[in-house]
Subunit: 294 residues, 2 copies
Amino acid sequence: MTGLKTYAAAQGSRVDRALRRCLPSGRTRPATLHEAMRYSVFAGGKRLRPILCLAAAEACGDDGERALPAACAVECVHTYSLIHDDLPCMDDDDLRRGKPTCHKVYGEAVAVLAGDALLTLAFELVAGSAPVRRHRPAEMVRELAVAAGSRHLVGGQVMDIEGEGSGLGPRELRFIHEGKTAALLTASLRLGGMAAGATPRQLQALGEFGQATGLAFQIIDDILDVTQTSEKLGKSAGKDEASDKATYPAVHGLDKSRREAERLTRAAVASLKPFGGRAARLEQLAAYLLQRDY
Amino acid sequence: MTGLKTYAAAQGSRVDRALRRCLPSGRTRPATLHEAMRYSVFAGGKRLRPILCLAAAEACGDDGERALPAACAVECVHTYSLIHDDLPCMDDDDLRRGKPTCHKVYGEAVAVLAGDALLTLAFELVAGSAPVRRHRPAEMVRELAVAAGSRHLVGGQVMDIEGEGSGLGPRELRFIHEGKTAALLTASLRLGGMAAGATPRQLQALGEFGQATGLAFQIIDDILDVTQTSEKLGKSAGKDEASDKATYPAVHGLDKSRREAERLTRAAVASLKPFGGRAARLEQLAAYLLQRDY
């Protein structure tokens, strides 16, 4: 097994090629819309969610080929959520991954619509997945829709906005982190598993791994936002604190946040037991995500 | 066969009951989001698209019960598109169906997100359709996603915005009307057909009926916007003209617009031939939509 860097680069390129195929070209009418969609999708994301999706498929004994539509779909959902989160009426961010945000380049109206179109495309892609034993494409659509919907991804963003300055409690904070981060990571993993014909036990394990990894990742992000600089993060650091946004360190303190991140990291690794050695990539990915200097 | 009014009222109530069941309650966390979704969905829409969906299912020999998830889904997509179109960065409308628009009541951020959540819910609903002979739920998801996506619904809105003040040609105007109106009407009809196990020939006919009806409907709307007052329309009349938006009368003149609407109306009726008497409701609905005083 080659190193994680090589693996992630190879899988990232594989996803990029697939995304280039499944996104309409920048010359497709209306050109501005398709340019904006491609601008944000190819703005330098690490393809974390698609790579997790493919790695989950591999853990279930597939080469990931059948999981590619789902892998592209979760990246489309992720990108849409970033475009909308960055809007002036939400987080009002000018930079994302060190580049101007979609609305800064294409204007607010096109940014809203590019997000809408990416979300819609995600469902088109998943619905076009090849049927496999145990899981129908429609079941995969539901999995993605629930994770992206009002009780998880969108709901988390709403609660995040509402919580600004109002001192949210631990339960609301958990809802935000689960919704904004863990839900889509979990769906990415479970969709990869479904595309590979995962057993119920395997799907359950992927779900637990996703929840633990997603929450830990978000808590670490919160910690880093407090402790690092803009340059390293490629976005405006200290922003969460400045706007009095709910974060783990703000609610629980830095020490408790670190302990919780460590506990969740152990839980993530433990959840992979049912896969034996076949989940080595997922373990490496969790280590990459969670063993940061926080 | 009872009158169209009774039929539409009964089907509208049936759809409303189904929508009440499938939308999370206004007390579901986060409450503001779910309230906003319900506010816009229950703001007095005529349920045109769901009623067409159910009538198409009936024309294919079903009682419409299996088409209910799709009927609710097309209404969710329609409502989402209205919420986003009304935003300050787009059409900047304060009123919709005579009531304050979503962002006027809940703020821009929640309005964007309520739209996002309704779009997502639509795919969850369609994916949950019962499998029928000939058409898998995943195929229905694709049908809806293509109609709602960047080449149709969203694309039409982008071209509409870009065309403001720039004097669009007939081809661009057609793209806008097809995308913003005909595509979702057509998908509503075809989804109803699919849920009822329609034959390829029946689906084709429903598609032609939808295209003709949708375009005619939009042309008539354009004409009425020029010739009627705010009070009658329940929205700001003359707005299209004032903002130099592309409309059929602006590009083709009133007379040619009226002739085109009449031609399409005849085409719509002709396309229903394969159904024989079973498409009587669709014929009545087309008459209701298109035989307005324009």
